[in-house]
């Protein structure tokens, strides 16, 4: 076998050496764009987790779910309170999240490397707490909301083995509760759950659940137990305290239920990346088909095979009874909207695999907010968003926010157009233009954005 392996690796080496090396100039150009990409990534990753929280409807398989009667009464944008002012040197790539009547902004200073966080009260436009520094980093790796806390990840660029640090910030005070250094090279991950932060991949496969308040381990499952050596924890529904699906290196699946945390082997194996949506486990492998397993019973079965040359990427819930599978080809992306149970193709976004098509989705009721606009469950384009970014507000509407510059750039003083979009019919209500920068965030009534002086809040509904 050794000689065979030598031959096989020799073949792999030869094939590797025939892979065209991209242009150095391309890498340099991409370096200039990379930070903003990172910011977008983290924002959307958080959106994905949030989308998963509401995906319980998918289990019902109902196709007749309609929008709730609640409507947003849009009004022209009206500034609320004085906003937050301060000295924020080098502040770029701001992003925000809203929860519990506050908005939270995180950014890294390009000039000092400081990773910062600030909170603003939405109903008053006043600071929730002063801006705080979390440390100095080479990059900003993302953030997420969890019960009572904001998790903010800084990334070191000095080659240290524990390359990231998670800061767990108390939402009510802005003070850091605790921090965790971790190494994503160990095959592990951080999964925010309502019961605590699930940390996988330490010490060869150990699992720990850390208390949001103290950071102390509520329980630890040593890797020596063997049956559960999690390399992947499907996260889409983790915040909803549903069972987690653990995947051992050999693909064996177990169900882990919070809070008793007793793993129950499912007797099934799946290879590839797992996503759990509505009681089903979807597995995608690079270049291969997507398979699905019903957690209620049965064996893994074929679900979706990408078209010739395309690869299945992210799998997301995208409305009642539907699952969206992102496909990527050499020329672009498409988002396939599939029946969540059977994999039957309903419709798709980006039929020509164009660049920028088939981006991530979020949902408002049974409406799908995709890269090009707002769609009905049957694929009718209710609203074409153009260059605007759609942000769900409440159960039946969205904001369309259009920035003139590149995402992540801008000093917070550019004209940003804001419109309200009724999810029932796609009706658009222009709300006004404000001077702001990239990184706005909204709840059901207020819009908060970075601006030249700091952060400001506007009311958009009554």
């Amino acid at each position: 076998m050794s000689a065979d392996l030598d031959q096989l690796f020799g073949s792999l080496r030869a094939d590797s050496d025939r892979i065209p090396l991209p242009l150095a100039a391309g890498a340099r150009a991409r370096g200039g764009r990379r930070r903003r990409n990172s910011v977008i990534a983290s924002v959307l990753a958080v959106a994905l987790v949030a989308a998963g929280v509401t995906s319980g409807l998918l289990l019902t398989g109902r196709e007749d779910v309609t929008l709730p009667p609640a409507r947003v009464n849009f009004v022209p944008l009206e500034q609320v309170g004085p906003g937050v002012s301060g000295e924020f040197p080098g502040r770029t790539f701001v992003w925000g999240q809203a929860a519990g009547g506050d908005a939270y902004f995180t950014w890294r200073s390009e000039t000092t490397g400081q990773l910062m966080v600030a909170g603003v009260q939405l109903p008053t436009g006043k600071p929730a707490w002063p801006a705080r520094e979390l440390g100095k980093y080479g990059d900003f790796a993302g953030s997420f909301l969890a019960p009572g806390v904001l998790g903010v990840m800084g990334e070191r660029d000095d080659g240290s083995p524990l390359d990231r640090r998670l800061h767990v910030v108390d939402l009510s005070t802005g003070q850091e509760r605790w921090a965790l250094d971790f190494d994503i090279n160990q095959g592990g991950d951080l999964t925010p759950t309502t019961g605590g932060l699930l940390v996988t991949g330490e010490n060869g496969g150990q699992l720990r659940l850390l208390d949001w308040a103290s950071g102390k381990a509520l329980w630890t499952m040593p890797s020596s137990q063997g049956t559960v050596v999690a390399t992947t924890v499907a996260t889409a529904e983790a915040l909803d305290n549903r069972p987690l699906v653990l995947q051992a290196p050999d693909g064996a699946l177990s169900l882990l239920t919070l809070p008793d945390m007793q793993p129950r082997p499912l007797g099934q194996r799946m290879q590839g990346r797992l996503t759990v949506i509505g009681g089903r486990v979807y597995a995608s492998t690079e270049g291969g088909p997507v398979t699905v397993l019903d957690l209620a019973g049965g064996a893994p079965r074929p679900f979706h095979t990408p078209a010739n040359g395309a690869r299945a990427g992210m799998i997301q819930p995208c409305g009642p009874g539907l699952v969206c599978v992102q496909e990527e080809s050499r020329t672009g992306e498409a988002m396939m909207v599939l029946d969540a149970a059977t994999g039957a193709r309903k419709w798709q976004v980006g039929g020509d695999y164009g660049r920028g098509r088939g981006g991530p989705v979020s949902t408002v009721g049974d409406r799908i907010l995709g890269a090009e606009g707002m769609y009905s469950p049957s694929g009718k384009l209710l609203y074409r968003s153009g260059q605007a970014i759609l942000s769900p507000v409440g159960p039946a509407a969205a904001l369309a926010i259009q920035y003139p510059g590149s995402p992540g750039m801008g000093g917070g003083d550019q004209p940003v157009q804001v419109s309200g979009v009724d999810a029932s019919d796609g009706h658009v209500t222009p709300l006004g233009t404000i001077r702001a920068g990239y990184g706005c965030v909204a709840d059901n009534q207020y819009l908060a954005c970075p601006d030249a002086a700091g952060f400001k809040v506007w009311r958009f509904s009554k």
Binding site: M1, L5, D6, Q7, L8, F9, S11, L12, R13, D15, S16, D17, R18, I19, P20, L21, P22, L23, A24, G26, A27, R28, A29, R30, G31, R33, R34, R35, I40, A41, S42, A45, L48, A141, G159, P161, D163, I184, G187, D189, T231, T235, D250, Q271, G272, R273, T285, E286, G287, G288, P289, G313, M314, E328, R330, G332, E333, R355, G359, P360
Partner: protein
């Protein structure tokens, strides 16, 4: 900026090895190209500092390793980057042996895959791998042994099962 202060030369010298490393980790030529370009993009941002490193190539491998296992990145970064970047030139189709091997490599834990890639594709010694992966030489030997065993197990399976591992690829 002619040759970008040595960056382009560094890129040309180290790029092919990094592609090889990324291909071993991911088993996908397009993914390898993307990871490598992303790693060099990060290197370019820090080039003034990185160019002074004794082992800047090792730093790049760390970045590639990190990116290949980073769920947060997997979720979105490549999508947004791809949306605004021209795709690199397509790679030639791999040989049948390579298809079989990368399919088998994908079934291994990342540490085993990484150790095998460093050993077989970059000719790194056990001691070098141990330093790079922050492990003892004994642990590296164990990873290599278990990795080889894992490959042998998959590669000796009937063709149909290998095809399944490969995600339905046509194995002739």
């Amino acid at each position: 900026m002619p040759d970008a202060d040595g960056f382009d030369e560094f890129y040309r010298d180290t790029g092919p090895r990094l592609i090889r490393y990324a291909y071993g980790l991911t088993g996908d030529p397009a993914e390898a190209q993307d990871l490598v370009q992303e790693a060099y993009a990060r290197a370019w941002q820090r080039w003034r500092k990185l160019s002074g490193y004794a082992d800047a190539e090792g730093w790049l491998r760390l970045v590639v390793t990190r990116l290949s296992t980073d769920r947060w990145r997997w979720l979105k970064v490549r999508r947004t980057a791809a949306a605004s970047a021209r795709p690199p030139a397509p790679a030639e189709p791999p040989s049948e042996d390579t298809v079989l091997l990368v399919g088998a490599l994908r079934t291994l834990p990342v540490q085993h895959r990484r150790a095998l890639t460093l050993h077989y594709l970059l000719d790194r010694s056990i001691a070098d791998i141990a330093i790079e992966m922050g492990a003892t030489a004994g642990t590296v030997k164990s990873w290599l042994a278990r990795g080889r065993a894992g490959l042998a197990e998959v590669l000796t399976e009937p063709a149909a099962e290998v095809a399944e591992v490969l995600g339905g690829s046509d194995v002739r």
